[in-house]
Amino acid sequence: MSIIDATFLRQLDRLRVRVRTARGLRPGETHIPRSTQAWGIEFESYKDYSPGDDFRYVDWNAVGRLNQLVVRTFTAEREIPYYLFLDTSASMGAPAIDQKFTFASDLATALGYVVVNNNDPLRLIALTAPDNGLSSFRAAPVLRHRSQFSQLPAFLATLTPRGKTYFREALRSYAEQTREPGVALILSDFLVEAPVYEEALLLLKARGYEVKVIRVLGAAELSPERLFRRGKLYDVEDGKERWISLSKAHLQQYREALQAHLTALRQFCHQHHILYAQVATDDNLVMVVSEEFTRAGLLAFR
């Protein structure tokens, strides 16, 4: 059950997504440092007059002192397109007690609110299994204003975790169809081989996206002894089975493998200037959004 309520949303009003390089083509409310434009509110710098510049922005005092036509330039303000990629493969729904998908949906709702609250366009893309030969993603309509925010939970409610992870194919497919890159927020458990996610993330980077990775982990993934001691493990995506007796040594082996997988993703993101954040389902969502994400540099106070 979602914990998003009015109180929580009011806390989110103070936040914004911290953006480093991404910017859109349309004017917006986000100040783009070190970028100028010929009109605006916040003075940025001067430039030599060029034919066609608006005479209203000629700084006549400077002309008097320098005997040269100079024109004032202003800090650029652009809207930033946000793309929220949500993994809806079956692995997000297992084990059921973790409620990983519900947690990820709540995170997506919270981040989406933060985005549209800053009057930036947002599109949620569900990374799904290809259905009858169709594309391996489902995209929600672009939300441009906070009044449209209610469409986001409604769309999320239509999603259920199922099928295999088509992480690489889905990201590539969507990126090829999109002309305007922006901020790509990726919510996933990343339980795929490293080359798969590396290729996908690099593809987005290459297309000009500012990629931010949020890895969602289930509590039972971190501590599988909560789930079982011995039994037949069933991979919900490919249907394979494996008989495991969870001795201390085996548990240690699993933890080491998990840690290696986490470290590999983190290091990859660090090397490629991709923001990486990791959350667990037994974390408090409010704390995650308001503290963990700001500490990680994903969000900032307005």
């Binding site: 084990p95 990983k100 039994g231 069933y234 991979d235 008989w243």
Partner: protein, 627 residues
Amino acid sequence: MGILNPAALPLLAVLGVLILIYLRERWRNRIEVPSLLLWQVVKEDKARVRRFTPSLLFLLQLLLLALLIGGVLHPFQSHIVTETRGNRHILVIDTSASMQAREGRTPRFELARSQAKEVVQSFNVLDEVMLITVSTQPQVVSGLTKDHLLILHLLETLKPVDTGTNLDLGIELALAQRDREGRPGQIYVFTDLPQSSLTLSADKLKDLAYYRVGKTDDNLGLAALHLHQNPFQSYSQAQAYVIVRNYAAHPKTGTLTVRLNEKQVFRREFTLAAREATSFSVKGFEGPGKLVAQLDTNDAFSVDNQAFAWLTELHDRRLVLVSAAKGLQEELARVSGAIPGLTLSTFTPDTFSPAEVRAQDIVLFHQFIPSATILANSLYVFPPPQNPLFPAVAEAEDVSILDWREEHEILQNLRYVDALPLKKARILAMPSWAQVLISSRTKNSEVPLAFTGEKDGHRVACLAFDLGKGNLTNSDNMTLLLLFLNTLRWLSPPDPTTPALVSTGEAFFLPPGASPDSLLLRLPQGEEQKINTDAIEIDHVGEYRLIGSRYNRTLYANLFDEQESDIGRRDDDSKPVTAKNAAVPAPQELKQAVPVEFGRMLYYGAAALLLLEWLYALWRYYRMSRA
């Protein structure tokens, strides 16, 4: 330690079922994980996972099941308890007619009762006593009880009856009761019979405390009252014989009076020498009615001084002959003409109709079997070869009679049965309801030549040989005529209103249709009692009367019992045991293992376990809710 209900042992298999359920769930259940990617490093261990390893929940369920099954098994723990137990005493008291004989002024039964009371009073308070009376049948008056006052009270209420005795059976019953449950006991017998008269083995008799009462032999009694009147004789032709016997070892004088309907018809004073008997003939009766023989004498035993009989009025009987043989018709006409009260109606098979037959008729079918059921007593003579009732198997000639039932009423007092002229006979298939009367034999089996039985509530007799061709009235064949007449007498239906003669100690069975619920029985003593069963026990000499709305009958009960009337007892083996001589063993202390069942405790344990589990689950839920 053991179990009382081993039949529930198979329930233990439920424990195995529980283990199987666990294993099946273990093997079937799969744990869903998002990916096996991270588990590839962990070595697969199928054998270990599939191995049964009990969990806490399983152990709890196993314990719960074990407790419930244990409860069903009724386990017990043996405890040794010491019990002080009294001995068992069984009193067997003879209540037959001879116990009414007086010794001086005191009846023998009173002497026996006094001795029994003394014996009971000598018992220890913990002793258990059983009381059995014996006449023709033993009867348990009181089961084993420690209430000695009750036994004394029951002894006071006992009365002797006018019947014979079967003391052997009573002692057998007492022995069986004594040996029950393996506890020692003592049997006390109070009777006037000498111990030598018992037919039980010496082994059974050796432990008896035998109290014999009575010495006198002073009895002059009626040994028999025979009234000879067959169904075809009138009361004026009847003849009564009264046999009187002196059982004393000295001469006795008495007066015999015979009354018919309270009117004296015979009186004779006589003297009989020691152990002698004589008979008196009385005849020329003037009417039907109740005949009472009364012996007036001064002796110690009065039960056998009176006897009853009934003179019946001659009723006309009709013999219906259905035969095509002229010779037989003529012969039977001559026979019936010689028998008073017997009329003959003759039909041929063509002219006969079942509607012609009345219930009181005797029907003779000669070489003919009617198709309809005949509601009267019937005699079938030489049935035709093909008939549904007695199918003929074969024909036989010059058959010799090899066997016959001489105790049957038809053959009683009939000599020379084997002299019957049987030139030609038919071998008939005997029906299941019939019994052989006269038979021959072939190499393989018995061949019935005459048989009798009862079918549809009527008597049926069948002769497989022919009566015709002048045999019946031939003076050379008297046996055949007597057999025929005896058969007619046996087939004559009794008059249901005629009083019945019974012997004391026997039971009179009510006829079908006489509902005992609506009947009252008036005893010879004048008391009336309701009847609950179809059999009426006849215990006293005299006149019983059954009074009902639809059924009334008078019964005359006589006692003609040599053993009871011969009240004298020789002293050669009589060494009456006194109460002092009879060793009364002291109460015994017994140590025995008493099983104490604790199956119920296991049920309580299971309930407590369930309660604890429930409380634990509640506590956990409460904790989680708070967390």
